[in-house]
C-alpha cells in the first residue's frame, strides 16, 4: 500500500515537472524581443558593428542556437535536453554551457539558504512555541511584538541596514561578494573561513526576518494546541512542564510548520534573489537576474527548470515525511 502510494506520488511528480516545463518553454516565446538581436545591439553599442553585420550575425546565431527550427521541433528538442539536464550554451556568456553556470552558482545558494533556513526554522519554532507557552509574561509579549516587526521587514532591507552598520561603518564584515577578490577558490581552511565570513551578513539578514516568520506561525499554532483537551489532561497527569511543552505542545503544533518548511525548501534555489543582489553574492539569484536582463533564454530555462524540480521534489518530500510525524494520515 505504502509502495503503491509512493509510486503514484512519483508519477504525479513527473507529470507536474512536465507540465511546468512546457509552460516554461512557451511563455518566454510570447516575449516580443529576440535575445540574439538584444545581445548584438548591446555589442554594437560598445564596439562598432554595422547594421548589416548584425543581420548576418543574427542569422548565423539563430542557426547556431536552433532558433530557425519550427516551434514543435524546438519543443521536443527542449524536452529531450532537459530530461538529460542539458540546457545548451548560454547566450550572454557564450561559449559557457548553462549547466556550468548553474553548477558554479548553485552550491553558493544552497549552502547559504539550507543552513539559514534550517537554523531559523529551529530557532523560530522554539521561540514561537515558548512565546505562546509563556503568553502572560511581559518579556514574551515583548519578544512576540519584536518578532512580528522583523517578520514584516523584507530580507533585503535588513541586508542594507546590516551592510550600513556592520560592514560600511563598523568594517567588521566585507561589503559584498562570496569571497575576496584576491584569493583563489580551493578546498582549504583559510578559504573556507573567508567564505564563512562573507556569508555571515547575507545569512543574518535572511535569518532575522525568517525567524520572525517561523515564530509567528508557531506561536499561533501553539496557542491553539494549548486549548486542546489533551493539554489539560497532560497537566492533570502531573507531567513535568518540559515534557508537556515538548512532547504534547510543540510535537503537535509543529506539524503544519513542517509542511511549510518543505515548501520553503522548494524555494531555496531562488529564495533570496534580492539578498544575493544586495550582497553581490555569486549565487543563483545573481545568475537569474543577469540572464533575465540579457534575455538569456537557455540560462533562464535552466534555472527555472531546476526551480521546478526542487519545488516538485520538496512536495514529494512533504508527502513522504508527513505520515512519519503524524500517525493520523498513515492509512
Amino acid at each position: 500500500m505504502y509502495i503503491q502510494r509512493i509510486l503514484r506520488r512519483i508519477l504525479t511528480l513527473l507529470a507536474v515537472i512536465w507540465a511546468a516545463a512546457t509552460l516554461n518553454f512557451f511563455l518566454p516565446q510570447l516575449a516580443p524581443k529576440n535575445p540574439i538581436t538584444e545581445k548584438l545591439t548591446q555589442l554594437a553599442e560598445t564596439s562598432g558593428i554595422s547594421g548589416n553585420q548584425i543581420a548576418v550575425l543574427t542569422e548565423a546565431f539563430n542557426e547556431r542556437f536552433g532558433l530557425d527550427q519550427p516551434l514543435w521541433k524546438r519543443y521536443f528538442d527542449y524536452l529531450h535536453d532537459i530530461a538529460t539536464f542539458d540546457f545548451g550554451y548560454s547566450i550572454s556568456s557564450y561559449p559557457t554551457r548553462v549547466g556550468d553556470l548553474i553548477g558554479g552558482a548553485l552550491p553558493w545558494t544552497l549552502g547559504l539558504m539550507i543552513t539559514t533556513t534550517l537554523v531559523s526554522f529551529a530557532i523560530g519554532t522554539l521561540v514561537g512555541a515558548y512565546a505562546a507557552w509563556r503568553r502572560d509574561s511581559l518579556l514574551m509579549q515583548a519578544v512576540s511584538s519584536v518578532l512580528m516587526v522583523f517578520s514584516a521587514i523584507p530580507f533585503y532591507l535588513i541586508g542594507l541596514v546590516l551592510i550600513y552598520f556592520l560592514a560600511a561603518k563598523g568594517g567588521w564584515f566585507p561589503i559584498s561578494g562570496g569571497y575576496s577578490l584576491f584569493s583563489i577558490p580551493g578546498w582549504n581552511w583559510s578559504f573556507a573561513l573567508e567564505v564563512l565570513h562573507h556569508s555571515l551578513l547575507p545569512a543574518l539578514s535572511i535569518a532575522i526576518a525568517s525567524i520572525g516568520i517561523w515564530a509567528i506561525g508557531m506561536r499561533g499554532m501553539m496557542v491553539t494546541v494549548q486549548g486542546e483537551d489533551y493539554m489539560v489532561f497532560a497537566k492533570a497527569k502531573g507531567l513535568k512542564p518540559r515534557r508537556v511543552f515538548l512532547r504534547y505542545g510543540v510535537r503537535n503544533a509543529v506539524l503544519p510548520q513542517v509542511t511549510t518548511l518543505a515548501l520553503f525548501f522548494g524555494q531555496v534555489v531562488t529564495g533570496a534573489v534580492l539578498v544575493e543582489i544586495v550582497f553581490g553574492y555569486p549565487g543563483m539569484g545573481n545568475l537569474l537576474l543577469e540572464s533575465i536582463t540579457l534575455f538569456d533564454y537557455p540560462t533562464i530555462y535552466g534555472i527555472v527548470f531546476i526551480l521546478i524540480v526542487t519545488i516538485a521534489l520538496s512536495m514529494l518530500l512533504v508527502d513522504l515525511i508527513y505520515p512519519l510525524i503524524d500517525p493520523r494520515v498513515r492509512a
Binding site: 483537551d229 489533551y230 489532561f233 497537566k235 502531573g238 512532547r247 504534547y248 506539524l255 500517525p327 493520523r328
Partner: protein, 571 residues
Amino acid sequence: MTLLEVRDLCIDYFTSTRVIHAVRGVSFDVAPGERVALVGESGSGKTTTALALMQMIEPPGKIVGGTAKLNGTDLLALRGDAVRASRLANVAYIPQGAMNSLNPVLRLREQILDGLVDHGQRLDRKAADALVAGALKGVGLSPDLARAYPHELSGGMKQRACIAIAIAMKPDLVIADEPTSALDVITQKQVMATLIAAQEEIGCGLLLIGHDMGLMAQATNRVIVLQHGLIAEDAPVGRIFTDPQHAYSRMLIDSVPTLGKRAETAAPAVIAKPEAASLMEFDKVSKTFGGGLFGNDAVRALDTCSFRLADEHPQIISVVGQSGSGKTTLARMVLGFETPSTGEIRYRGKPMAAMRAEERRAYRREVQAIFQDPYGSFNPFYKVDRALSLPLANFGLTTQGGSARSRMEEACEAVGLDAGEVLGRFPHELSGGQRQRLMVARALMIGPRMLVADEPVSMVDASLRMTILGNLQRLKDRFSISVIYITHDLATAYHVSDYVLVLHKGRIVEAGLPGDVIERPEHPYTRSLVDAIPWPDPNRHWGTGAPDRAGWDARQIIRGQSAGFVLNAAG
C-alpha cells in the same frame, strides 16, 4: 474517618468588568472508597470545584479561600513542584472530552508510562511492558493496543484508556468529569462499570461530576447538588431520590425522563392509506461508503430500507442506535446531503435525483436541520438576529425589517423564548439551552414541513432536554411539521416520538410505537439499549453484566404501524 475534607472553598473569576463568584464557600467530605456525585447544571461550579482540587484553575480564576485536606494534607496549600507531584499520585483526573484527551501523535504505551516516569518511577523495558499490559487489561482493553494511536480507537476505548492512565499510580482520589457524556448508553454503562470496578479495586475515593441524575443514581453512594456555586443538598443516594429536600434537587430528578409515564397521544390506530399523498418516501434506499476505484473496503452505512411519511399526519419519528449505526447517514440522506447508493428518495412524490433547481430550492426550504452543537452553530461575531433572519434573506422571503422582526418574535415565542430577552444579543451572552432553542426558531422562520434534528439536546443540560423536546412536539401539532429525531437516548425518544426505528449496523432491527418498542423491547439489541438506560432510581439497578451481543444480529421485528408512517418490512 474521611479521605477528603473540603472546607469553605471559594473561587472567584476576575474579569475586566466584575468579579464572578463561581464557588462560594463549598464544604464537603469524601470517605475512603466512597463514590460521591457532584451534580449541577452548567455554571454551577462543579468542574471549577474539581479543578481547584488539582490547583488547575487558570487565570482569571483564582482560589480565594478554603482548604481541601486529602489524608490531612491541604491540597490547596501545596506550592511549586509539590502541586505537580500530587497530581496522578494522589489525585487523578479523568477529563470530560474523551474524544480529544489523548495526545494524537503518541502511542498509548508512551501516554501511560510518561506520567509514571515523571513521578520518579524507573522501569526497565520488561517491567514497563508488563505494567502497560496490566493497565490496559484492567480497563478491559487488549494489551495489543499499547502500540495503537488514539485515532485508531473508538470513543469508548479512548475513555477506557484515559481511565487506565489516570489510575496507573493508584491515587487516593479520582475525579471523573462527565466521563461518559459523549458516549451512547451501552458504551456509557460499560465504561462506568469499568471505572467503578477499578475504583473498588484500588479502594480510592471517586468524585463523579455530571448533570445526569440517572447516571448518579446508578453509580454513586452520595450526591452533592450544586447550584450557583453553593451546595443545595448533600445526601446519600438512597435518600435524595426518594426524599429530596431542596427544590432544585427535585427539579433535577424530575427532569430525567422515565418510562411508564408517557402521555399517550391520540390512539394511532388509523393506518395511513397507501394512496395518501406522501411527504417523504424512501424506496429501497441503501448507502454504501468507500469501495470503488481505489479498492478500499466498502462500508455499508445503511441497509436497504423503505418507508413513507404521509403529508397529512405530522409525525415525530425517532431513529435510535449507537454511534456507527447509520442513523446520521439516514438523516443526511433525508436532508439531501448524501445521495443513496441504490434506491430512490422521493419528496412530495418527486425523485430527489431528478429535481430541477427551483424544486430543490423549495425542498431545501421545507426540510430544515437542527444540529447537535448549539455552541458551534452560531457565528460568534454576529448578533443572533442575523442567524435567525438569514434564512429569510436566502430564500428571498422578506425584505422589510419590520416583518422580519415580527417573524423572529413569532418564532421565538413558538419555542418558548422571550424575544425581548434574546434578540439583539450575541451568542456568548446566551445559555446553551437558549441557543439550541434559537436554532429551532431559526428552522421555523421559513415555514418548514419537516425538521431533521440530529441529537439536538445531547449538549444541553439534562434538566432542559425535555423542555426543548416538548417544544418540538408542540410545533408538530401547531405547524404540522414532521420531525426526524436522531438520538442515542431512548428515554427521550420514548416521550417525544410517535414511532421509533432502532438501527444497528445500518439495519433497522426493531420498529414500532414507542410504548411497545421501548417499554417492552423484543429484539435483543433494543433490549440491551433499554437495559443500559440509567434510571434515576438507585433501587432499580441497571445491573453489571455486559450486554449479550449474541442476538444483536437477529432478524428484524416490526410492531405495528403509525398513522402517517409506513415502514416496509421487505426493505
